[in-house]
Amino acid sequence: MFTPETRILVIDDMKVMRSLIKGQLRTLNYQNISEAENGEEAFKILEQNHSVNTPIQVVLSDWNMPVMSGLELLKKVREDARFKNLPFIMITAEGELEQVKSAAELGVSSYIRKPFAPNTFSEKLEQVYKKHCA
């Protein structure tokens, strides 16, 4: 399982959602949480952390965001050799088949639908750990 030191990046254009997600991650003992408002800002954080040898280890990203959406970020991440295996969880209010399919085709690790229950992150992170890190 991921440890409390695991570096997690939370991306959402709504501040309240970032607070909510960070709050739920903290109740699971995760301490190293960074945040970004959109995909573009998130990618800069991924690059910065990678350059100083403290890479982000899990991304939790909203879908609909201005500047760069979660799906655009996922595409950019998967095209970059440094991040192509990075666990990437999409969080979205969109749940239709086409959306799920397009994220799956781009290599999303897992998918959380809003609204989500408090225990959702625990389950999804465990699932993603088994898939990418076990």
């Binding site: 501040k15 309240v16 607070s19 109740t27 749940g95 239709e96 088949l97 799920v100």
Partner: protein, 278 residues
């Protein structure tokens, strides 16, 4: 053993007597479906004799359904309760719709006239409100009596967000309105903090709640042909609040009582397509 195809003007039905569906059978299904090049509004898979899908078969089947949905074809499985439960347990019930009979799938049996469509829209939206509030904020809520909004009976609110509704049936707005006290209680439950006044951390929370409500409702409504497009909600602030208080369009308001206090959902339809607020 094999697949039998039955077709009429309303749907294409594919039946099988296989006891289990694996990826091999799904490939056969794919060939059968590709042979039907004309537009198929409804494709029903009668899998009542089947006890289970292999995991690979189920995965292949979701891809097969995805191909059909790109052509706006409505698909569904006619299955036993046991298999419907297995599909639900696999988390695929939002992709694979299960029915007990093909008649349940047909649009004319679900929502026929404009009035039925309006009721369907309203009920689904209200269900989405109750569900979202319950899961996001552990806030149990219930809708009260719906009323037509005039200039004199608008609900008291301090915080509001709106989102455009663009669908095959109508255009309008979905608006969520709350007194400050209710809003602070809900935000407190969502984030685990205590708020006594509006602070920047929670300023956009009502727009996010509305976004989730619409996403929830949209998914269900679009399965029934509403073709609602998702838009990004905006906060209603400053002078926009006065516009809300003097509605020029037909609007209905649904008051909700909840553990966190009262709040309101307003549905406004543009002139010329006022089925919802009629």
């Amino acid at each position: 053993m094999g697949f039998q195809v039955q077709k009429n003007e309303r749907y294409l039905m594919i039946r099988t007597d296989f006891p289990i569906i694996t990826d091999v059978e799904v490939k056969q299904l794919d060939i059968i479906l590709k042979a039907h090049t004309e537009k198929l509004p409804v494709v029903a898979f009668d899998f009542t004799t089947i006890d289970q899908f292999s995991p690979k078969g189920l995965r292949q089947m979701t891809l097969c359904l995805s191909g059909l949905s790109q052509n706006d074809t409505q698909t569904g499985f006619i299955v036993s309760k046991g298999l419907a439960n297995k599909i639900k347990e696999a988390g695929l019930d939002r992709i694979i719709k299960c029915y007990s009979a093909v008649e349940e799938m047909l649009p004319s049996n679900r929502a026929s006239g404009g009035s039925d469509r309006a009721t369907d829209f309203l009920n689904t939206t209200l269900e989405a409100v109750v569900f979202t509030m319950g899961v996001s904020a552990s806030n149990k809520c219930a809708p009260g009596k719906v009323f037509l909004r005039t200039q004199n009976n608008g609900p008291a609110f301090d915080v509001a967000a709106t989102v455009g509704l663009v669908s095959s049936d109508f255009q309008g707005s979905l608006i969520l309105l709350m007194p400050m006290k209710t809003y602070l209680n809900i935000m407190g439950r969502m984030t685990g903090e205590t708020y006594t006044e509006m602070v920047p951390d929670i300023r956009d929370g009502i727009a996010e709640l509305l976004n989730v409500i619409l996403g929830q409702a949209k998914m269900s409504l679009n399965e029934r042909g509403f073709q609602i497009k998702q838009a990004i909600p905006t906060l209603i602030q400053g002078g926009m609040i006065n516009l809300l208080n003097a509605p020029a369009t037909r609007s209905i308001v649904v008051p909700f009582s909840s553990d966190c206090g009262d709040f309101y959902v307003q549905i406004t339809t543009n002139a010329g397509n006022a089925a919802i607020a009629a």
